[in-house]
Amino acid sequence: MDLSPVLISMKTAATAIIITFFVGIAVAYWVVNMKHEKLKMIFDGILTLPLVLPPTVAGFFLLYIFGVKRPVGKLLLEFLGVKIAFSWGATVLAAVVISFPLMYRSARGAFELVDSNLLYAGRTLGMSEWSIFWRILFPNAMSGILSGGILAFARGLGEFGATAMIAGNIAGKTRTLPLAVYSNVAAGDMQGAYQYVLVLVVISFFVVTGMNYVTYVFQKYNFTEEVPRIKRKRKQR
């Protein structure tokens, strides 16, 4: 079995989730705090679009923006010497764009579930907005954010349509697991496709189970237990 699709997929999904995770949280925070209700709806619509559009359409748009003959793609190529289309970077870009709505929506939902009185309390107590975010909002939205992250990771790993459009299907370079499954089937190599399918199924299963576990842990923990004694002693010293 050629392992390169597995490695490319893992590398792509790992890089993509780092970007998606932080950008998704930042954008969610920004949208949640938007004052203008109508603008908020419009932005939310745009940000959720990649989730409802067929990935090939998202890929089409990406190609339209980052293609070497397009303004943005041209600019990147001429001034930075970076070619996005049909490079490994394009697989990451596709995964980020497609998995972004999942991260963004989960984080937004999680933020909105946090009792706004907690944030107000933080403000009246004199805490800075920065520490309110990191010490109150983020920890209390943690379970939603984590499960969103896991979902986004799985989605990035399974990305096919947009990747095929903007990154192509170059063996050893942009051929990710889903593309390898497709290529092998297209070439009539069912045995080869079977192995990749198995890898994908196993990883996806662990991801979903992991998500359930995270939810379970947070529900059980739910900040109702006393801090373990060992930790307490360390603190006192």
Partner: protein
């Protein structure tokens, strides 16, 4: 100079909030029905909500001034806000919650609270609020009283100039409530700044506040010393909110006589009646049963009993005027002397003369 001055407007969904009041040191209670804008008033003072226009200031700082386009961040107002649900941070222990209230930097000085200092302050507050032994517990595990104490300790850790308490006892059962009211009363007396308590419970306000403001539909109806307000509410809404069960439309019939139109009774009063008198009120406890052969003529009602309910310590009688039955009148008596009277009497000074 007054300690806190507020004069602001804000458009809300159902009505406009138009508040104007000033207070000195002590404790002001804001009494009003649910949804009349009480909490909104507190939130505006704290800076959580921004009004449309007006000015809010203390003797030291201006919080908000629409004329100068100035709105101080809630972080800088030094206003402690006790939320209805206490808003304890669920991801922090009691000690961490209290420490979160300590300001890292004292405004205007080079002082920075070091770790050692924070720990000491937290320890002092834990002792002061009887929370020793709970410092490593998460808020969800605490009882209602402990949660309230933690929230108060956290607020005092931030050294506020003003305390705002939003329905501090609404989440508690009646037994706990009375105990905590006494406790809170002590703590408020020790607090040097001014305090505003918002509540729909008149007993709470009466026990805790030196001054009381009655609010209705976003407006300040009357603001008065608590004792005075309860003995002479002056306004129909104030009478209702201070617990007056019997309010009737009224018509002046003489210099010292007034007709209660809803009850079909004429009353004598012992003082001047205001020009705009439109209601009179009698508290349910102020009816006194008298003997059938009693010779009093004025302010006597022949009782036509309709309904009796018994509570553990008092009983309530609903009755009508036998001679001219109209609306029901409420009467409350302590348990023990329990017997349905045939005649009741009201002392002229107990009749509340009310404006619209």
């Amino acid at each position: 100079m007054k300690k806190l001055q507020a004069d602001f407007q804000k458009k809300l969904k159902n009505f406009d909030l138009q508040m104007r009041f000033a207070m000195e040191e002590g404790c002001l209670g804001i009494l009003g029905a649910s949804g009349c804008g009480k909490s909104m008033t507190l939130k505006t003072i704290a800076g959580i909500v921004t009004p449309d226009e007006g000015k809010i200031s203390t003797e030291k700082t201006v919080f908000y001034d629409s004329a100068e386009k100035l709105s101080l961040a809630p972080q800088k107002r030094k206003v402690g806000y006790l939320f209805q649900n206490y808003a304890l941070f669920p991801n922090m222990t009691v000690a961490e919650n209290i420490a979160a209230g300590i300001r890292p930097r004292e405004e205007g000085t080079a002082f920075r609270a070091g770790k050692q200092n924070v720990r000491e302050q937290v320890k002092n507050l834990l002792v002061q609020f009887q929370l020793e032994g709970f410092e490593n517990q998460y808020p969800m595990k605490l009882s209602g009283g402990q949660q309230q104490r933690t929230a108060l300790a956290r607020i005092l850790a931030s050294r506020p100039d003003i305390l705002l308490l939003d329905e501090p006892f609404s989440a508690m059962d009646s037994y706990l409530r009375e105990e905590l009211q006494i406790e809170l009363n002590k703590r408020l007396k020790a607090f040097s700044g001014c305090t505003i308590i918002v509540s729909h419970d008149r007993d709470e306000i009466y026990k805790l506040c030196t001054h009381t403001m009655i609010m209705g539909e976003g407006r300040n109806i009357i603001c008065e010393e608590t004792e005075k307000l309860f003995s002479n509410p002056g306004y129909m809404q104030a009478a209702r909110l201070t617990g007056c069960k019997n309010i009737s439309r009224a018509k002046r019939t003489g210099i010292r006589t007034v007709q209660a139109l809803d009850w079909g009774v004429e009353f004598c009063v012992d003082r001047e009646m205001p020009e705009q008198l439109s209601y009179i009120g009698v508290r349910a406890h102020d009816f006194i049963p008298i003997a059938v052969n009693d010779e009093r003529q004025e302010n006597v009602i022949q009782v036509y009993p309709c309904d009796v309910t018994r509570a553990p310590f008092e009983w309530t009688l609903l009755f009508q005027n036998k001679e001219d039955p109209k609306e029901y009148i409420w009467m409350k008596q302590e348990r023990g002397k329990w017997q349905i009277p045939q005649k009741v009497w009201v002392s002229p000074e107990k009749i509340l003369l009310l404006k619209e």
